[in-house]
């Protein structure tokens, strides 16, 4: 056996591991890169490279359907992220910091939407909205339409659970003594939450919000079930286009969506670095 010194000679296992990893990275990034490159292709045919151009991006911003879908996506994402973050955070608090009767059932209700497949969720919400609109029509003669409203309500329904799980994980790491200390120092329950709990779980809350935002912007299946005529989100619109065939326009829209995702990741990384402080206090004792 070799003795490990400063620089260890690379063992064959080590080389294999490294090779595997670089292949995985290639696998991750090659399709994305190809997509990005071809979105700048001037040719009408996706596969044949002629010359670089921004033609398809121009076509994208001049396409009213695309713009309307972007608008719908952004509204739905914003509404569902804000509401599900508030409700999900409250759910996490109730589950992690209180004991009450019926808590186990409530716990199950919060977790179930995560386990249920997209398709089932979509079916459930479609039948629910159709049925309740029929009932509403019968009762008060008001029959709402499928559209931004139903999409947002559906996105909130699956996002609450994801936010709750992420926030709960963070709350679980938070030393409950910090909250006791605040109460000991005359803070009432609201002040304790506002000044101690919330700032310390904020990375979790924002992480949950980011996840909700991503899931909302990602969703195709549920949205395509509960969307109405003339009100689809961008992924559903793109999905419809893709099923009809590959076009350079889709490449451009896709690249724009990728860039948006990466900006979100970038924001989250910057943010995590800024608030990387551990909620546990007594762990690190650097020298005086």
């Amino acid at each position: 056996m070799s003795i490990s010194t400063g620089v260890r000679p690379k063992s064959p296992t080590e080389r294999l591991l490294a090779a595997n990893s670089w292949l995985v990275y290639a696998f991750f990034y090659a399709p994305i890169l190809v997509l990005i490159v071809f979105s700048f292709n001037d040719n009408n045919n996706v596969g044949i490279w002629t010359e670089p151009s921004l033609r398809w991006y121009r076509a994208m911003v001049e396409n009213d359907d695309v713009l309307r879908a972007i608008r719908t996506s952004l509204i739905v994402a914003a509404v569902s992220t804000v509401i599900s973050t508030v409700l999900g955070t409250m759910a996490a608090l109730a589950l992690e910091r209180f004991r009450f009767r019926g808590q186990r059932v409530y716990d199950g209700l919060v977790y179930l939407p995560i386990i249920i497949p997209d398709v089932t969720m979509a079916v459930m919400l479609l039948l629910f909205f159709a049925q309740s609109f029929r009932i509403l029509d019968g009762l008060i003669g008001w029959s709402p339409n499928f559209g931004i409203g139903t999409i947002s309500l559906s996105h909130i329904a699956f996002n609450i659970s994801f936010v709750a799980v992420v926030v709960r994980a963070r709350l679980g790491q938070l030393d409950p003594r910090l909250e006791e200390a605040a109460a000991d120092l005359y803070a009432n329950q609201w002040q304790t939450f506002r000044r101690v709990t919330l700032p310390l779980i904020l990375p979790g809350v924002l992480g949950g919000a980011l996840l909700a935002l991503t899931l909302s912007l990602d969703d195709v299946v549920v949205t395509s079930f509960v969307a109405g005529p003339g009100s689809t989100t961008l992924p559903v619109y793109v999905f419809g286009l893709v099923r009809r065939g590959v076009t350079p326009l889709i490449n451009a829209v896709s690249t724009a969506m990728l860039v948006a995702s990466m900006i979100l990741v970038g924001i989250s990384l910057v943010f995590q670095r800024g608030t990387a402080s551990s909620p546990r206090v007594a762990e690190a004792h650097p020298p005086e």
Binding site: R177, D184, L185, V281, P286
Partner: protein
Amino acid sequence: MTDAVTLQGVTKQFGDVVAVCDLDLAIADGEFFSLLGPSGCGKTTTLRMIAGFEFPTTGSLKIHGQEMGLEPPNKRPVNTVFQSYALFPHMTVEENVGFGLLMKKLGSADIAERVKRALDMVQLTHRAAATPKQLSGGQQQRVALARALVNEPEVLLLDEPLGALDLKLRQAMQLELKDLQERVGITFIYVTHDQDEALTMSDRIGVMNEGELLQVGVPQEIYEHPTSRFVADFIGEINLLPAVVVDHETVRLLGNHPISASTGAASGNEVTVAIRPERFELYDLDEPIPEGMNRIEGTVSRRIYHGDVFYYDVDTPAGVIEAKEENRPGVELYEVGERTIVVWAPAATSVVQE
């Protein structure tokens, strides 16, 4: 004088587990009181009930005569120094110390002034803008103290506050804490499992085990005259020898060996005799022994050098006795196998029931 804290018949149950059982305790104003016991004995639960983090199941809990049992922590005139300090990691030292005053809605000038004084008191003015993570363990501990004391509580509760510090720092902080308590004159209730800490700092000590308060007294009383086998055994080193009461002034050890001790139990009772190792002196067989002293003959079976002292194990008919002799210049050493007489005063003999 009103007592700072009085507990009467306080019991705390968690489900079926009785954490604290029918506790009666009065802690005087300005006292440094320690609750001492092994982990899980109920001392921390008692402290948490006084702080308001737990509510008693039954009983009366008064702070300066006011019934407080079910008041939330923020409505109690007490402050706590937590075991892990529980400093708010997202606030600076200054903000941590000022938190209580801010919650009490003091003016910002007033807060700044009092925070500064509190930090002066713990010599941390120069770290006011630091975050807790940037501080050493000892500094964090002092911030926790300042954060509690700045509110001028009627009672300060300390939950093993020195537990995370290394030995040297801990010893220094013990003296500093005692000194501080005398200066500010606030009642301190101090929870610890470390008997040295309790003995060094306290005006009085309450020893707890399995949810019950076994003995309350000044440190000397607790150390010299334990009233139960548990207290004797838990605090310091001690020899515990089985015995039978003969009369008010005599018990008989194993091997039918009578010794003098104030018994306080009916004759014929089986009791335990507790004697501290440092109370023994070893004599040669032919040496004259002072009048009125207890004695028992035995063979040295082991000698351990411990720097400042020697420990001897002496096999006697009453059992193995551990004796401790100071390492003075010219001290006479006994070798393993040598015969000796173990001698001690009747007053140093505690007789405890089970």
